[in-house]
């Protein structure tokens, strides 16, 4: 059974000029125990808003979020319901998410269930520190005495203190060096398997998600545009946006291959493009794309994609994939006009 379930969730913010901005539109996803679900997209795609809605930091304007079968209510000034303490969040920046003036052990102890104090509490803190690969002695030190990777482990230990069944992690790897990133990524996989913990891993980096997540959802401008088992999505992306994200990852094989830039920029979410939200940047767009918004529909097994392109063609690996849209493209491929990812005459930045 899914431990976390999001059903058709919308997150709407009101801008200072009273314009309603839909940061998340009709997003559905679920996370099982012991499963790692990756949520990937560029900055501004709404992935952090979705994370905040998932843990109740913002109230969804439509749809529902359920955790262990119970509705997740938005956080108020009142104490969080006891049951929801098993739903935890880890933030991106371990430099600002830990209190610099309190000992690491005390901060982890804050997360322990009510009534765990004294010697039992200290022992548990020591255990949690060891669980994330630090020595129990770290409890007596301050965050400034640790590197970025170690601080992120401390933040994870604090989340584990509440004995969670699910942790939402918002870009937990983004601020780390390659080696620390690998350490924390491996730790997450271990924790998920050994504690049968569900993880919702939010990241802009599909390359690292590929090594950690079992299932991945790709988000663009508030909508989930593709979802499926990570391995399949990586080898044969169905959505052109997913394809672009994969092609942009630099290859570290020393061959000097240039990564492919995606032309244009993420549009203003207050005024999303008509039809498919990705169509202005899509190299494969055709007449139907600006007209109608595609919905997620099942494609192959356990996958779903929101794109009008016909799916009769057998998907091939990202490098050699050629689309044959049902109708002729309305425009020449936008990627051919610029290889550096800038679309001419787009978002001039006028004062």
């Amino acid at each position: 059974m899914s431990v976390l379930e999001l059903e058709e969730v919308d997150v709407t913010y009101e801008r200072r000029d009273h314009v309603k901005l839909k940061a998340v539109v009709g997003a559905s996803l679920s996370v099982d125990r012991g499963q790692i679900v990756g949520l990937v997209g560029e900055s501004g795609c709404g992935k952090s808003s979705l994370a905040r809605a998932a843990v109740g930091l913002v109230a969804p304007s439509a749809g529902r979020v359920r955790f262990e079968g119970q509705d997740v209510s938005a956080l108020t000034r009142r104490a969080r319901p006891r049951a929801l303490t098993r739903l935890q969040l880890v933030f991106q920046n371990p430099y600002s998410s830990l209190n610099p003036r309190r000992k690491v052990g005390d901060q982890i102890a804050d997360g322990l269930p009510h009534g765990t104090g004294g010697r039992a509490g200290r022992a548990r803190v020591g255990e949690l520190l060891e669980r994330v690969g630090l020595s129990p002695g770290a409890a007596e030190r301050f965050p400034s005495q640790f590197s970025g990777g170690q601080r992120q482990r401390i933040a994870i230990a604090r989340a584990l203190a509440a004995d969670p069944s699910l942790i939402v992690l918002d870009e937990p790897l983004a601020s780390l060096d390659a080696s620390a990133q690998a350490q924390v990524a491996n730790l997450l996989v271990e924790l998920s398997r050994e504690l049968s913990l569900g993880l919702l891993l939010i990241s802009h980096d599909l390359a690292i998600v590929r090594h950690t997540a079992d299932v991945v959802s790709v988000m663009y401008l508030g909508r989930i545009v593709e979802t499926g088992p990570t391995r399949e999505v990586w080898v044969a992306p169905l959505h052109p946006y997913t394809e672009a994200l994969i092609a942009a990852v630099p290859r570290s094989d020393g061959a000097g291959t240039m990564p492919d830039a995606l032309p244009g920029e993420v549009p203003d979410p207050a005024r999303p493009p008509t039809g498919c939200r990705f169509h202005p940047r899509c190299p494969h767009r055709f007449a139907r794309c600006p007209e109608e918004e595609p919905v997620l529909e099942a494609a192959f097994t356990a996958r779903a994609v929101a794109c009008w392109l016909p799916r009769d063609a057998v998907p091939t690996p990202p490098s050699g994939r050629a689309h044959t849209p049902g109708a002729p493209a309305t425009n020449e491929s936008p990627s051919s006009s610029s290889h550096e990812g800038v679309m001419p005459a787009h978002k001039g930045g006028t004062a």
């Binding site: 672009a244 020393g254 830039a261």
Partner: protein, 322 residues
Amino acid sequence: MSALLEVEGLRVRLPTRQGPVTVVDGVDYEVQPAEVFGVAGESGSGKTMSVLALLGLLPPGGAADGHARFGGRDLLRLRRSELRTVCGRDIGIVFQDPMTSLHPMLSIGQQLGEPLRIHLKLSRSAAKRQSAELLDAVRIPDPESALRAFPHQFSGGMRQRVAIAIALAGNPSLLIADEPTTALDVTVQAGIIRLLDRLRRERGLSVILITHDLGVMSSIADRISVFYAGRVVESADRKALVTRPRHPYTRALIDSLPHPEAPADTPLVPIRGMPPAAGAFPSGCTFHPRCGYAVASCTTDVPPLVREGERLLACPVDPLRQ
């Protein structure tokens, strides 16, 4: 071909509460014309300090010695006033975060015009024309109106393009790019990598690319030097370094990366332990406590950087020799 920049025996010391510590300990490197030279390493490896030292941009109290020959002069022997004309005119710099490196209250036109008028002594109108051309060169759409805009009106990727345009204003022969894509999305990062590559090809610009991301390095750098704890441990051309690393640290760094081209079940292998803090660098080979191949002499003898063909290697054990 004579090098554009030759750095020799560079040492950098920074003040700390415990007294001065050496963060760069005898580093040599050179940059050829129209070459992208990659400086790789984890945070705290001294990679940034070994480049900023050349321009007198060390934190207060920092001291550098050694030689840095550039255009017939030694950058480390220049007076501050002389350095100021080199920095910005002959050498441009781009930093990691375009949010903080651009002035939030000045228009793009003002920020771009300043180096043009100071370094190239252009008139106001000539500076404006030149500014628009620079924005066009970095592919900012509609340069005329962009000149009147402010940094917050641009996305992160566009801001980094503006920062690159400013760095290019004095028509430098060398661009120093310190983690220029680390704060950006991969899709935007790809655009900046391509931009740097085009500037190198079209303008003959040399670039020192400082980054911990060997993936970025592997797509654009011609030669790469790997820094560890204040020293260069290995240096070679891109392909040799990435496909046949010889230093155990280089190997470990590559194994810890997610490789998009490798099979899905390739594990991420982190390097055991932690990079040492400045001031607490281990004796002998600074990597020995984390190295799987260390022998007794590694703990005592500082390995010299030895040339072998095109490669420089600081590992006498050389366990990865084939």
